[in-house]
């Protein structure tokens, strides 16, 4: 998933090259923002977390191991920042169930748009650890191995966490008549 020229850009960043950093920012701004957005479900929070992520990346280039993949490193920082943000703001207590709780009679089929909104709301009902694997798998397109690398957990645990996350989402969508 790293672009071929990431390594060169990172070497230049370590030497303090702002232009190289801007190139990395250009490349990773959108995925980082989207990962944060899916974790937090708030454009403002995603924006702030994205800022923090890139500042941390810049400040910690010295500790980056060039033998590892850059995207693993930046996504790990993104998810950790997002989870810290959730913990700090206690976001889980103020979940927006509005969409998910829209009553729907049995047999009524949700439209694609409703399903999408219901899914976004359902995502916010599951624990951040489960949400993280869903984000990595479905938004970032990571493989089991890459998710394990990013979250620093064994592949077996990635699978069980991902499957449980899906089951929880499915249950939530069923509960709200979206599935």
């Amino acid at each position: 998933m790293d672009k071929p020229d990431d390594t060169k850009l990172i070497e230049r960043c370590i030497k303090g090259d702002r232009q190289a950093f801007e190139s990395l920012l250009l490349q990773y701004e959108k995925p980082v923002y989207n990962a944060a957005y899916r974790m937090l479900h708030s454009p403002e929070d995603a924006r702030d977390v994205t800022q923090n992520v890139f500042l941390k990346v810049y400040q910690n280039f010295g500790s980056f191991d060039p033998s590892r993949r850059f995207f693993s490193w930046i996504y790990r920082i993104t998810l950790n920042e997002s989870i810290n943000w959730i913990d700090k703001a206690n976001r889980l207590t103020s979940l927006d169930h509005e969409t998910a709780d829209q009553g729907r009679g049995p047999g009524q089929q949700a439209s694609a748009d409703e399903l999408s909104k219901g899914l976004e709301a359902a995502l916010m009902t599951i624990k951040a650890d489960y949400r993280a694997v869903i984000v990595l798998k479905h938004l970032m397109g990571c493989s089991y191995g890459e998710i394990g690398d990013i979250l620093e957990i064994p592949e077996k645990k990635v699978k069980s966490r991902l499957f449980t996350a899906r089951q929880l989402l499915k249950d939530e969508l069923t509960r709200t008549g979206m599935h």
Binding site: D17, L25, A46, F54, S116, E120, H138, F163, L169
Partner: protein
């Protein structure tokens, strides 16, 4: 009927495209005989399809600019990261090229003996020399702006009787910036920008008004006789409505 965990795992692996040929054969044999298995497979396929179809969000257009404005400049011996530093230190060639081309840089700083405190409606014709930036110290005050319509950094720096407001902003639409200074003895002393156009400016006693859109980098020079303590109050207006307010302080203590 409950599905054996092994097959739940295989169904998930299958829809993730992470299944071996042997596992695939095993799963197909199971699904052929299991209605529940086929149902779970279909449900998870639908769920995964919906997850994959979640729309990507675009970050705010100013976000990149804000992040870059917060990245400290490396190879800086002093803590100066303002416009003047960048203009006169290592990137000087970039700007020097702009000078030579005569198209990118409009520089209109005039000597303090050539102006009065009367209003300027048009400063584009002003000429003069730039005060040595080496005399400038680190920013005396700095604000970060992260509004939807305008974002970036404004810093206030000083050298003797000169105050420099260094604007590094991005505005998503036309925005008016009004800078009022509390000390009315301070007067406008010049303006420089890194683009040939895009920022208009007028000055009157105790106030400088700017109008800009897009990404802009410019500096406003003020003469502060005696280097007195002062505050610059900034208001940002879109269509006449104030969308943001901030202030910068100069305290002559350092």
């Amino acid at each position: 009927m409950a599905i054996e965990q092994k097959y739940v795992d295989l169904i998930n692996a299958d829809i993730d495209g992470e299944i071996t040929a042997a596992e695939q054969a095993d799963l197909q044999a199971f699904l052929a005989d299991s209605v529940d298995g086929r149902e779970l497979h279909a449900e998870l396929m639908t769920l995964n399809g919906a997850l994959d179809a979640l729309e990507e969000q675009d970050p705010p257009p100013y976000l990149r600019h804000v992040i870059m404005s917060r990245i400290p400049t490396q190879q800086v011996k002093r803590q100066t990261d303002g416009f003047l530093y960048s203009m006169f230190m290592s990137p000087v060639l970039r700007y020097a090229g702009s000078f030579a081309a005569g198209a990118l840089l409009m520089m209109s700083v005039i000597g303090s003996d050539r102006i009065s405190d009367t209003a300027f409606d048009d400063v584009s014709g002003l000429v003069g020399t730039m005060t040595d930036p080496a005399a400038l110290g680190p920013a005396d005050d700095k604000i970060d702006i992260t509004q939807n319509t305008v974002a970036g950094t404004i810093s206030l720096r000083s050298a003797g009787s000169m105050l420099v407001l260094d604007f590094d902003l991005m505005a998503s639409e036309k925005i008016d910036i009004i800078a009022d200074y509390t000390d009315k003895t301070i007067w406008f002393n010049g303006f420089a920008q890194l683009e040939s156009s895009g920022t208009s400016l007028s000055a009157e006693t105790g106030r400088v008004s700017l109008s800009m859109e897009g990404k802009r980098r410019y500096a406003v020079f003020l003469h502060n006789e005696g280097g007195r303590e002062t505050t610059v109050n900034l208001r940002f207006k879109v269509d006449g409505e104030v969308v943001h307010e901030a202030s910068l302080n100069f305290t002559p203590s350092r």
